[in-house]
């Protein structure tokens, strides 16, 4: 009966999904752990470690305000033994760019609760993130100058607009999720839309509708250099030649 109960319990444990949210667990044998005095089912707080690697919680790192951040962590305290509830700061950079490059976690800090659980044959070591601190900053394309490193260096980019000398045409991505900030760091921007422009007009960074040359409120790739032009797109038709497809207003640099 006891054996059947234990087997059923182990089978249940085998199919239970492990939470992937802010919890890290690893197991060691009881013998030689220093916790041989613990009884099965007992939980005990233990001193936290001095540092953790970026993936100690999840493969992608730590989640903060819906963004994932991959960075190492170092204890803010250096008096040993460290407490069971301990604060850590991001290391080596205190300000960490998210994995997708869309946000930055300034003064990133986490609080970890370190405890162990005496299971039937193992000691389960738990490192739970119970709190986080810092400020989340949504990144725009001009935030390229932040000195951070991404694990995927292939996407390193200067992140600037087309009209800027910082634009890297060989980068497949920019730092930010959107190529253009909602607020133009150079003082111009999308605007409210609705302004009627004519060829030769500067839009201050706004795009115009193809049909009417009216400001859209959207941000132009040319930034402050955006100037309205009336152009035509022709398509080549075999046996006929260049045929006008459409004419309209656009912003050029």
């Amino acid at each position: 009966m006891l054996r059947r109960t234990l087997l059923a319990l182990l089978l249940v444990l085998a199919v239970l999904p492990r939470s992937s949210c802010a919890q890290s667990t690893y197991e060691t044998s009881v013998a030689g752990s220093g916790y041989e005095d613990m009884v099965v089912g007992e939980a005990r707080d233990v001193p936290c470690e001095y540092g953790y690697s970026g993936r100690f919680q999840q493969y992608y790192g730590v989640e903060f305000e819906d963004y994932m951040f991959l960075t190492d962590w170092i204890s803010k305290r250096s008096d040993f033994p460290l407490p069971s509830w301990n604060w850590y700061y991001a290391y080596p950079m205190r300000n960490v760019v998210s994995n997708d490059g869309r946000a930055r976690w300034d003064n990133a800090e986490i609080q970890v609760h370190c405890w162990i659980y005496r299971a039937m044959y193992m000691i389960q070591h738990h490192r739970d993130i119970v709190a986080a601190a810092g400020q989340l900053v949504e990144l725009c394309e001009d935030d390229w100058r932040i000195d951070v490193r991404r694990e995927d260096g292939d996407d390193e980019s200067d992140g600037s607009r087309l009209g800027s000398s910082r634009y890297n045409p060989y980068a497949r991505s920019s730092w930010g999720a959107t190529e253009f900030c909602e607020e133009d760091n150079d003082g111009g921007g999308g605007g409210a839309g609705g302004t009627q422009y004519y060829p030769g007009d500067h839009t201050g960074g706004e795009t115009v509708t193809w049909e009417g040359g009216v400001g859209t409120g959207e941000y132009s790739a040319c930034g402050q250099d955006a100037k309205v032009e009336y152009v035509c797109i022709d398509v080549w038709v075999e046996g006929v030649g260049w045929t006008e497809w459409s004419c309209g207003y656009t912003t050029t640099c």
Partner: protein
């Protein structure tokens, strides 16, 4: 019995470790590529450059420039592609060979993209490589911000 328990524990730990493996290892690009190629002769007269918009080719957009094109013409060609993409989409729905011209015959001074000289130099030094539908040509690939995505936000 103990061996079975250890095996089950190992299965639990192994399953959880496997579930932590990432589905994808990298983020998709946020920009749209274009191939720029220098050709001995443009396929059609009447334009300093030609833009090929393809659907079934790996290189969807190709800018064809004559071999003696300068950085200014390259900049105009890139600007033309951006215009075409803003109107017809970052990826073409149907294949076409296009050109973009000002409605007025009066020329307007265009400021070159600051980075265009670098691309032009790289293009001049690029090795010949086959481009489907074009042939062997010096070519580079650059990445441009999406146009239609902005318009649809």
């Amino acid at each position: 019995m103990r061996a079975l328990a250890l095996l089950l524990v190992a299965l639990v730990y192994g399953a959880n470790s496997a579930s932590a493996q990432p589905q994808t290892a990298s983020n998709p690009p946020t920009r749209v590529p274009v191939t720029i190629a220098l050709v001995e002769q443009l396929p059609h007269p009447g334009s300093p450059f030609v833009i090929l918009r393809r659907v079934n080719e790996a290189e969807h957009d190709v800018i064809l420039l004559p071999a003696n094109a300068d950085a200014r013409q390259l900049s105009l060609a890139v600007q033309a592609l951006l215009t075409a993409r803003s109107v017809a989409g970052d990826t073409a729905e149907s294949p076409a060979t296009i050109r973009v011209r000002p409605r007025s015959d009066e020329g307007r001074a265009h400021r070159q993209f600051p980075w265009i000289a670098r691309v032009h130099g790289d293009l001049q030094r690029a090795a010949h490589r086959p481009i489907r539908g074009v042939g062997n040509a010096r070519a580079v690939v650059i990445w441009l911000p999406p146009q239609r995505a902005r318009a649809n936000r």
